[in-house]
Structures are given as C-alpha cells and as structure tokens.
Symmetry: C2
Subunit: 352 residues, 2 copies
Amino acid sequence: MQELSSTLVAYPGNLFGCFSSNRLTKDICGGYLWRLEFPQTHRQVDPEDKKNQFGGDARLVVLVSLSEKSLYSIMGSVHISSHEARLACRQNQLTNTSGLAPGYLQANLLILPAQHATDFHDLCLRNPVSCPLLGKTMTPGDPITVQPAGCIQSPDFDIRTDFPQYRIYLKGKYLESRKDLLDVWTSSHVGFLIGCSFSFEDALTAAGLQPRHQRTGTIVAMYRSNIPLLPAGIFTGGHCVVSMRPYRPEEVERVREVTRPYLSTHGEPVAWGWEGAKQLGITEINKPDFGEPQVFEKGEVPVFWACGVTPQMAVEAAGDRIKGLVFSHEPGHMLVTDWTAANLDKLRPGII
Amino acid sequence: MQELSSTLVAYPGNLFGCFSSNRLTKDICGGYLWRLEFPQTHRQVDPEDKKNQFGGDARLVVLVSLSEKSLYSIMGSVHISSHEARLACRQNQLTNTSGLAPGYLQANLLILPAQHATDFHDLCLRNPVSCPLLGKTMTPGDPITVQPAGCIQSPDFDIRTDFPQYRIYLKGKYLESRKDLLDVWTSSHVGFLIGCSFSFEDALTAAGLQPRHQRTGTIVAMYRSNIPLLPAGIFTGGHCVVSMRPYRPEEVERVREVTRPYLSTHGEPVAWGWEGAKQLGITEINKPDFGEPQVFEKGEVPVFWACGVTPQMAVEAAGDRIKGLVFSHEPGHMLVTDWTAANLDKLRPGII
C-alpha cells in the first residue's frame, strides 16, 4: 500500500476508495464504490489508519480519477461481487475494469445482426485463443437472457447497459462510443461474450506477478499483431489483437504456468521477449494501438496474450459485408460475469 | 469412369478393384479390397461391363498401384465400411486413404509420452483448426480404448496397427517410418486422433468439386505455412501445415460453404488464391513439403486448408524438450474412424 500511495503523485484527480469486506462495501459504500474526498493535490494515504477506522477485515483499495481523460483507473484490486461490479458499470461509476471483482471472469463483447451470428460463432470456434466464448444471448433481440445460465445469474442483467462503455460500428468502421446501447439495439441483434485476460490478473497478483498497468493505474497496452485470424464466412482477412504486460525474462515461465489454465480467457501468452514482439510485427512498443503505453523496468521484456478486442478487427476487415450496426465494448472496459476460475474447466473453448 | 480409365496410362502397375455393395465387398472381396489381375500395360476398363457382370448396385472403383513408390493410390472413392477400411490398413493392403469409406471421418495421429499429454491436449484446444480432436486413448499404455466411445466402435481396434503407416520421432527428429508400432509402444504412451480434411472430400465430390488428387491418384499436396501455432507448454515455435486443392476462382465460395460445417476436420479453407499462397509464405506451389505436386488446369488457383500434419511440426519445434519416442501417422495415410458427418455437431473443437 505504501508503494501504491507513493505513486499517486503522478495522477492528479479525485481519489475513490472501496473496501474488501462485503459488509463495509454494502453498509458504507451503498453497494458501490465509495468516494473519498481528497484535495486535488497529493496527500499521503495511510492504509493502517483506514484499517483501524473500519475494522480488521477492511482492505483499502484505491481508484484514481484521470480526470483529464474522463477515465477512472483502478490501482490494485476492488473486492466487490460480480453483481455489484455490473451495477457500478451500469451506473457509469467506473470504466477500466482491470482489478475489479477478483476471481470472477471478465468478458469482451461483440453484438451483431442475427444474419451474421453463425459466421461469427464459427469465427470464435476457429480462433478460441483470441475469441473464447463465455456466453451468448439466447435469441435475437433479447438483451437479457444469456446462455449458459451460469454466465449471468442476476435477473436484472442487460447487455445494453452493463458494460462501462460501448463502441458502435457501421460497415466495419468505428462510428462513436456510448455509455449504453438502449436506443440503437434492434430486434435482430445477438450478443457474444468473449473471455478477457483481466480474468487471470488476480492469479498473477497472487503469484507475486501483479500486472504493471494495475500498479500504475493505466489501461493495459494492446497492439494489432500479424497473427492471422482464421477466416469464417464473411469474416476474412482479420488479425489478432494482443495485450502486453512487462515481466523479467526469468519470470516468463511462471507467468505462462499461472495463466495456462485460463483457456477460456486467452490462456497462456502467444509470444514473449523482444524477439516475440518482432515476430508479431510489433515494432513500437511505446505506441500501443489501444490502451496506454506501459513502463518497462530495467531488463524487462514484453509478454503478449491474445486479446478480446480481436473481434473488432474482424468486423473492420469484414467491412461492408456486414449489414446493420455492430456494437462492441470499449477496449479495457469489460463486463464482470458470474463465472469464476472454478468454472474454467467446463468453459473450454468450443463448449459454447 | 471413362475419364478415370483414360488416366490409367500414366500409372503403370497393378490394378485393384472394389465394389460399393456390401454384399459384393464381403462375398467377392472377402471383406477387403479385391484384386483384379491386369497386365502391367494399360488396358481399357469398361465400367458398364463390370456393372452388368456383378449386378445393378455394384459401383466400380479403382486403386492404382504406384509400384515404383510402393504406394497404392485411390482414384475416386472406395465404398467400404469404416471397420473394413481399418482392417485393410491393418493388413497393409492400402496406404493413401483419400476417398476411402466416404461419409466416415478420417483421423491424423500423434502419440506421445504421458508427461507431455496435457501440453499437447492444450495445444489442440488452442489450435482447433489445424489440430481438431476426434478422440484420444483413455489411459496411458492402453492402445485399444478410445474416448469418446463413438469414435471407434469395433473391439478389435489397435492404435498401433490400424493406420496404414507410421512415423517415429526422437527429440523432434524424424527417425523412420513403420507399418506398425507394436515393438516401440510403451506403457506411458497416449494417442490423440486429429480430424483430417479427407473427411470432407466426399462432400466436395457430391457438390461437383472432386479434389484433383482423387482424380489423378496422387497424395494431396501439403506445405509448411507461416501461420503460427499458438504455443502450449513445451510446444512453442511451431507453424501450421496446410493441404492444397486447386479450384477455379468462381468455385471458391462454394468450396468454402461445403467444407464449413466440418469444424472438427479443419473446416473451411484458411487461405485461397495466389495472394493467399503468398500470405502463407508458400512460393513454390510445385514443391510441396509433403505429398505430391498437383496439376493446375487453366485459370485455377490454390485453396488451402489447415492440415493434421501440423502436430508433427509442433513436435519438431519442441525438439529435445520431448522425452521419449513420439509416433505419428505418415502424411496422407489416415485412420478411418466410426464418426460420420452426422456427428460433426457434437465434435465441435474443445469438446474432447
């Protein structure tokens, strides 16, 4: 915590606080994230003081408002339930979901007209490392019901509102971002929930390998790679997007081991090291295509995972072969599902 | 048939015949392929005459012995059951299995020591287009029992004998080919059956798109491509092998449609056209890495599918990280399973 608070200097803005105890979260935070009013200038946070004030099981976590970007970033983990996380996102109380509700699997999104749903489903089945399915809406036009039922267990779910932010595409081109899809959703739309690498970040943290972007309160860096997306129907010519986390070379094997079981949320890395970056066609590590650049400490190398932004590249490549509006999540801004790491085995790619 | 017989001139050797009627196959051929003694020189085959001789439901199919290569190649289709096909392969009565037992799904093979089985299984789950699983042996050392049970339903099955030909690898290097694995199999070996594109060739033929290698009695052309095999455990640095069939550009969409449902036997093509060949890094179409070069007719372009020889490339790339002997099938020389096209839906990648 000392390290966290010391990095706050770099991030002017409001501070938000939340506590790991469910009782505290619900009683004091009203079920959502709790706002601590700090001055704009840096002020030392003393976690011991907070702990004493709120009881022994309270664990202080901090969100930093990057007010100049209108984004909230989490530093560390926010221990709330998956349902609480969805409510917070629905009410636009936070955006970047890395570190949110540890233990629950997070999902990327692609929504498209029903006539293209089979082709997109095939695309996911053929490319399960970048597009692993965690669930899909049951019938065209129904934004509420997701199958398998274990994916979302709260009856108030709505795929049009429960992501922090959405993107809208027409004929493969990005049009704009929205906080919800209520006025653009149609009776023919079908939604696909695609596993997100944020799901294994708490396992990395537990292994002493906390991702850099969680420590610096930034959005994970994402790059377009040259890994071809194997075509399915109208979806031809796409390529995989990869997310990147810096690690020391001697940590890479352990990082691979920790993330390997997460087959349905991208699993182990697809490439690593500077040679790996080159093989993926990534030449400017400080210029990610999505998210924010990451700080490399001395001797660290990039480690790349497939990324659920890939379907958006498939949509771009399909271009005007897609009839009607397509919606996705905003990169880094995920849905927290009710699946947990304990469900990983029954979520092996291809089962949905 | 006239066209088939006219091409026989190019292939000196013995002729083998088999008939589609089960009664004829069993009564006249003794359950296996039936040998017609023809002279070494070309002799006109009159299918009408054979049909009259053996009854209205007999359909003449022809195997041509390429005696100079010690290979038998099928021209057209051999309508026998999956079990009969396995018996014929076990008794080394044929090798190239393209066109054999239409309707049944055919399988590639990789057998490796149990300590590497989980990594290889993960590799298949992460790369289901090139490595789609149709089945695996149940316990290390047991060469008889395959799961799911529907894959092989005859109790006499033996994974060490029922492929026409095998390859042996040590530390990622090809050592030699064998007709069976009886004296090299150990109590730790585990076998994986991987879908083969021969499985959809009868569907192509039924759509008027018979693969060229079936018409010319050659082994399908296969190439190493630059599509990366997404790593799993010790299996890093591998690339996909692709098979190639020539078609006219205007046939490509229909070819894609016909093969699309075969998700568990490589499914639709991964690339097509001369530009597609270039993107895969294939510059010499007449010099395949496995199988035989294919004849292009005027205006035809190459169409590429992922190929189940890919695991052998993964083994080569893993090199001495693999402890113990690894076995595979000989490219083009498959196992005929008891799965049929009707089982495709329950064989979606990831289910096994």
